[in-house]
């Protein structure tokens, strides 16, 4: 079993480090807090000749993704990174990148969307892009940021998938906190990601292609249908990549991660760093005799319905923690999608939504403990008092 070395890096630093090891042909990026460290660190790698990547210091995020589309269409392995309003600004081109089937990998440092302007963590940015056709992976900590960026390159470039991937981490909480991260030798990483073999390239002047044509009523739908198929294929082939990652690096990943989930009555579903906070609470409650458990989705796109349904199959009461609001009046996006996944099941747990942490508002172990106690009351009484609630907001 190969052992890496442990380095003390923040989530942003390790994202830049992973990018360094991937060594894409082109990076076009624009700084935005709290992603800035990624761009700045990567720029230093370029300036020091540590990577051969051509870096385009674009003048906006819209141009960042535009240049990435151009570069990827020209057969280059391409990456960028952004947050919040930067993602919002490139929204038009984010959809184009996915529908043109370009395997761009983009770390996104989750930050609240304006207004009012807030630079701290919530998931409103990437949740807003959940219909864009990009694959989305949520990272609990900096180690996962490193691992997921490396896997994302293989997933995006998989010949049956060919879709861009967002690798998300919590702004400031993960991006700016130092962790001990196990990293591997450059060669191992390069071996794992392999050489990029684009399915077409503008630079192949002997075989001219036209990218981005006008697609009228007679063809657009077929191209979209292909995209749906790609998501289905992603579900099928991502496990292959995860298995290979385990073989190469000794870390096991799946669509979701369960913690004391198998026999849990009371389950909290949470993405990213909050899952880490919840684990300690699960342990404490288990000592009390409560069968608490945690379900942490890793992939959000494709939506891992089967894994989530399996994970919740024994639960009596479930609380989904949403770090974003969909403003549908029916709760946040994670809640809507998990609830929808459970619709077809004969045995469905009672399920509530707790919206928390917007604009970087902290969620404490005590908050999470209170939610488990609420789940306990729900499991006992069979009744839900508050289907959709807000945690940590002042009335």
């Amino acid at each position: 079993m190969v052992k890496g070395k442990i380095i003390p890096f923040t989530g942003d630093q390790i994202a830049a480090y992973a990018m360094k090891q991937v060594e894409p042909d082109v990076v076009a990026a624009y700084p935005i807090t709290p992603q800035t460290e990624i761009v700045m660190n990567f720029s230093q790698y370029v300036a020091d000749g540590k990577v051969s990547t051509e870096l385009i210091a674009v003048e906006s995020e819209h141009s960042a993704m535009s240049a990435c589309v151009g570069a990827a269409a020209a057969g280059a392995r391409t990456m960028t990174a952004t947050s919040a309003n930067g993602l919002a600004l490139m929204w038009e081109i984010v959809y184009i990148a996915a529908s043109t089937r370009l395997p761009i990998v983009m770390p996104v440092v989750n930050r609240a969307l304006s207004a009012p302007i807030n630079i701290h963590c919530d998931h409103s940015d990437t949740m807003g892009a959940r219909d864009s056709g990009w694959l989305q992976i949520y990272c609990e900590n900096a180690q996962e940021v490193y691992d997921n960026i490396i896997m994302a390159v293989r997933i995006a470039e998989h010949p049956e998938i060919q879709l861009p991937v967002m690798v998300c981490q919590d702004g400031f909480i993960t991006s700016h906190a130092v962790e001990g991260i196990e990293v591997f030798d450059d060669k191992l990483v390069k071996n794992f990601i392999g050489e990029y073999k684009p399915r077409f390239s503008l630079l192949d002047v002997e075989k001219p292609v036209t990218v981005g044509p006008l697609d009228l009523q007679d063809f657009y739908f077929e191209h979209k249908r292909q995209q749906s198929e790609a998501i289905a294929k992603a579900k099928k082939y991502i496990p292959e990549v995860m298995r290979e990652f385990n073989t190469s690096f000794g870390r096991k990943y799946d669509f979701i991660e369960g913690y004391k989930l198998d026999d849990a009555d009371l389950v909290i579903c949470a993405l990213s760093s909050t899952a880490g906070t919840a684990r300690g609470v699960v342990d404490n409650l288990r000592e009390e005799g409560l069968k608490a458990g945690l379900l942490k989705p890793r992939l959000f796109r494709p939506f891992p319905r089967e894994a989530i349904v399996r994970g919740l199959s024994k639960a009596k009461a479930v609380a989904v923690l949403d770090r974003s609001e969909s403003f549908s009046g029916e709760g946040g996006p994670l809640f809507s999608e998990i609830k929808s996944a459970l619709y077809e099941e004969k045995n469905r747990p009672l399920i509530i939504d707790r919206i928390y942490g917007l604009g970087g508002r902290d969620i404490f172990e005590s908050d999470i403990e209170e939610i488990y106690r609420e789940l306990s009351r729900i499991a006992e009484s069979g009744k839900i008092k508050e289907k959709i609630g807000f945690v940590g907001v002042r009335d």
């Binding site: 076009a28 269409a73 981005g212």
Partner: protein, 308 residues
């Protein structure tokens, strides 16, 4: 000096027939003439607009060369990505050919919505040629006014009416804005003076860094003139000094064509339906203002040239 016989023999046709631009459209003439400026393989990109929409209706493409369309406002950012990928892969020995990069944008995608990405690409110094086919309005979506629409022209979003003579503002001087980025080569051209255009195009392709060609592009639908007069109208734009032909090479301005007999701008205005309301009594002063502005601009251009 370009020679038509040689050009027709040596330069491949990069844009084929079968595209769906209007009969008599100036834009495809711009494309054909500009691309005569290089024999090298070219990769083309276009902003959303008449050119892109009419030449690439799936599954038909009129481009015999690699072509990319991304969105409306970002052709310069897109070609920046393509050109950078080329440099990255060439550096790694994966590409050996010498390839030229051309971005086409209408005045909409260049003067207005595309100005930011154009400015960024120019400032970064990518090696590409940007060609603006300026038909002075958002033609593809229905002749709506743009920052390039001349004062006094009637468009569908600044139409002439009982209380308005069309566009009140003057056009942007985009060529000067581009020149302010200190790029190696900037020029204004017209298809009517094909030799001047092709010569400038050759210089643009040979430039080490960004080059910009602003080419006035006739739209007989939006400007309201008979379709066979496209080239004639282009000539009038130049002979009235409405569209002076000049180039700026490393910051030095040179006017490449000075009409022996500068025609009054009325010769240009009277041929186009988009200006016909200027004949009305209440708007007669506007035509006078147009002439005054044009004369001032021409004098300023001569002054800039004399400054060397």
């Amino acid at each position: 000096m370009a020679n038509l016989k040689e050009l027709s023999k040596n330069i491949p046709e990069r844009l084929c027939g079968g595209h769906r631009l209007c009969a008599g459209c100036g834009a495809s003439i711009v494309v054909r003439q500009v691309l005569m400026g290089t024999k090298a393989p070219v990769i083309t990109a276009s902003a959303t607009g008449c050119l892109e929409v009419a030449t690439t209706i799936y599954p038909y493409t009129a481009w015999e060369v690699p072509f990319i369309h991304n969105a409306f406002e970002n052709v310069a950012a897109t070609i920046s990505g393509v050109e950078t990928a080329y440099r990255a892969l060439k550096k790694k020995g994966k590409i050996k050919k010498d390839i030229k990069f051309v971005a086409f944008g209408g005045d909409g995608g260049t003067y207005d919505i595309g100005l930011q990405s154009l400015s960024g690409a120019l400032e970064r110094g990518h090696n590409f040629v940007y060609v603006c086919y300026d038909n002075e309005a958002y033609m593809n979506t229905g002749i709506q006014r743009s920052g390039a629409t001349p004062k006094g022209a009637s468009t569908t979003t600044a139409p002439s009416g009982k209380e308005s003579y069309g566009k009140h503002q003057r056009r942007k001087d985009l060529t000067s804005i581009v020149a302010a980025h200190r790029i190696p080569y900037v020029a204004q051209c017209s298809i009517s003076h094909w030799n001047d255009l092709v010569t400038k195009s050759e210089k643009a392709f040979a430039a080490d860094g960004p080059a910009f060609l602003n080419v006035i592009s006739m739209c007989h639908r939006g400007w309201r003139f008979p379709q066979e007069q496209t080239v004639e109208i282009a000539k009038l734009a130049v002979e009235t000094c409405f569209w002076p032909l000049y180039e700026i090479t490393d910051g030095r301005l040179k006017i490449t064509y000075k009409p022996k007999n500068k025609l009054p701008v009325s010769e240009w205005l009277k041929r186009q339906g988009r200006f016909k309301h200027l004949k009305k009594e209440e708007y007669l002063s506007v035509a006078k203002e147009i002439q005054k502005d044009l004369d001032e601009d021409w004098e300023n251009l001569l002054k800039r040239e004399s400054l060397g």
